[in-house]
């Protein structure tokens, strides 16, 4: 048994670099898609419990927990439905828009460090790459809204475009603060520079930026309470009102993949990524609980994803002008002020700036 594993590892190491990278990309993509599937189920369960319902509880797989097969049932239902293309739509854009929404959400995983060793690309400009990709995600929504040739879809697309542009600025400024504290744009280094336990993570010194990033992240993913782009009560279903079947499912997939992405990024930028909260503390920090691992990242991502669902179950939808006001007049000034505060902290060497690599 043991020799077989060493044989397999040797075989893996003997494969050319490009093959190994492609295999990793496949593993991560399928992992993300599976996470999305179970996230939809978890969302319906959690919101159900919050509203004193049971949530999906009929479809089982392998006789396990009731409701566990629900995501697969949904996917097969949507796969077998007809994709209707409106006769007055721009056919090409209408078909390509769901892909444009999904591709950036998955491509962003290339630079995300999942564990100390495991990252597809150790790009130096990883943070910029993420910003660029998250700004491209809006094209899927705008094109879907415009190409459908429907007034509700167009209204949804317009709302979404304005909202994304506004919140991206707040998000970018929050990341400038992270960049200042880490002294690097490489995501692996950003995580490593936060080592030293729970209070050494960025959230402690950059708390306002963390709050801004989380709010902007919810707005970027068009989730409640910022989901005016869909706005069922006003514009039916917004930008994807004309989509059916699997084309609609792709938008759904993109939205949830973005949620997982934003949660992971929040964990990486502000909560020490794969670092353990106990590292550096006497006693518990020297046991296995103090070791950095993928599971710490998974736990943090899970907590932030739960926040997304909790927001949706709790808050009523913002009015459109309130969203714009919050983005431009509240979040952006907060980030600007805190970048100024960071300058002072850097000048007198406290917090992250007391660490050796800033001297």
């Amino acid at each position: 048994m043991h020799t077989q594993i060493t044989h397999l590892l040797a075989l893996w190491a003997s494969l050319p670099q490009i093959v190994r990278t492609v295999v990793w990309i496949l593993i991560i993509t399928i992992g993300v898609i599976l996470c999305v599937a179970f996230l939809t189920l978890w969302e319906r369960k959690v919101i159900g419990w919050m509203q004193l319902r049971r949530g999906p509880n009929r479809v089982r797989i392998f006789g396990m927990l009731p409701g566990l097969g629900q995501p697969f049932a949904d996917v097969f239902k949507l796969l077998t439905k007809e994709v209707v293309v409106p006769s007055a739509a721009s056919k090409f854009l209408f078909r390509i828009a769901p892909a444009l929404a999904l591709i950036p959400a998955i491509a962003a995983w290339a630079v995300i460090p999942l564990s100390p060793q495991l990252v597809v690309s150790k790009a130096n400009a990883g943070l910029l790459y993420l910003l660029a990709l998250s700004s491209m995600g809006v094209y899927g929504i705008i094109l879907a809204g415009w190409s459908a040739n429907s007034k509700y879809a167009l209204l949804g697309a317009m709302r979404s475009a304005a909202q994304m542009v506004a919140y991206e600025i707040a998000m970018g400024f929050a990341l400038v603060g992270v960049l200042m504290a880490a002294g690097s744009m490489n995501l692996g280094q950003i995580v490593q520079h936060q080592q030293g336990g729970f209070l050494a993570w960025n959230w402690f010194w950059l708390f306002p930026l963390f709050v801004v990033y989380l709010i902007a992240g919810v707005a970027e993913t068009n989730r409640a309470p910022f989901d005016v782009a869909e706005g069922e009560s006003e514009i039916v279903a917004g930008f994807h009102v004309e989509y059916s079947g699997i084309a609609f499912a792709l938008f759904f997939l993109a939205e949830y993949a973005n949620m997982i992405l934003i949660s992971t990024l929040t964990a990486v930028f502000f909560f020490g990524g794969w670092l353990s909260p106990f590292a550096g503390y006497p006693g518990i920090g020297h046991t296995f609980l103090g070791d950095p691992s993928f599971f710490w990242l998974g736990l943090k991502v899970f907590v932030f994803l739960f926040l997304f669902l909790w927001f949706r179950a709790t808050f009523p939808r913002y009015r459109y002008d309130q969203i714009m006001r919050l983005g431009w007049k509240a979040l952006i000034p907060v980030t600007l002020v805190w970048i100024g505060v960071e300058m002072i902290m850097a000048a007198i060497h406290i917090g992250p700036w007391a660490r050796p690599w800033f001297h």
Binding site: L93, A123, N124, A125, L128, Y129, L131, A132, S135, M136, V138, Y139, I142, L143, W146, L154, A157, M158, A161, A162, M164, V165, E168, M185, D321, Q322, R325
Partner: protein, 201 residues
């Protein structure tokens, strides 16, 4: 070798996209072709290891500027026939402008050379730990700090001017004052009345 093949692929797509910008009938398609051009030129910049410029091109132009362009163009109500009316009449103007731009670019390259790039030797790549961003920041915030700040001020002035020119206050417009809405307290609007219960008759 791979880099050369990729370069020709991206360059061909770039030129094709640029042709699409000016030949597309629908302005929305023109904007999308322009986005396509930006993405391809970013890819070409990546090939010469200018990753900072490439990503910033995508971030700023594709992610922000062109989104706003699309935003505006989608809302335009354009009569295409009306726009195309003067096409042949003004075509000579376009030709003169294009030729002038080409002549200027050629002239600059003729006089200054390619900025130290030796065409025969080809592109020399930097070592693996070379950070584009770091080097750019170092030059920008030391040697060129003054012009850099000036450019920033210029942009702010342009923004203020654009807003000042287009801002108009219409009298009698009904808008909500959100700060007043947010500041509302329950005591101002709501009165809890204690009504004595009636006796059951």
């Amino acid at each position: 070798m791979l880099v050369e093949i990729l370069f020709y692929i991206f360059a061909t797509l770039l030129v094709a996209g640029a042709l699409g910008v000016i030949t597309a009938r629908n302005p929305v398609y023109s904007v999308l072709f322009l986005v396509f051009c930006f993405v391809n030129s970013a890819a070409i910049w990546l090939l010469v290891e200018a990753e900072f410029l490439a990503i910033v091109l995508v971030l700023v132009y594709v992610g922000a500027v062109m989104v706003l362009f699309l935003f505006v163009v989608m809302m335009l109500d354009i009569n295409l026939a009306e726009i195309r009316q003067g096409f042949t009449r003004f075509a000579w103007l376009g030709w003169i402008t294009a030729l002038a731009v080409i002549a200027e670019i050629t002239g600059v390259i003729w006089r200054n050379g390619l900025g130290g790039v030796d065409v025969g030797r080809g592109f020399v790549s930097e070592p693996a730990n070379y950070s584009n961003t770091l080097e750019l920041g170092r030059v920008l915030y030391t040697h060129y700090a003054y012009p850099f700040e000036l450019a920033a001020v210029l942009l702010v002035v342009a923004i203020v001017a654009a807003i000042a020119l287009t801002l108009r206050r219409r009298p009698g417009l009904k808008v909500q004052d959100i700060s007043r809405q947010v500041a509302v307290r329950a005591e101002d609007r709501l009165r809890v009345v204690k009504v004595s219960a009636e006796k059951r008759s």
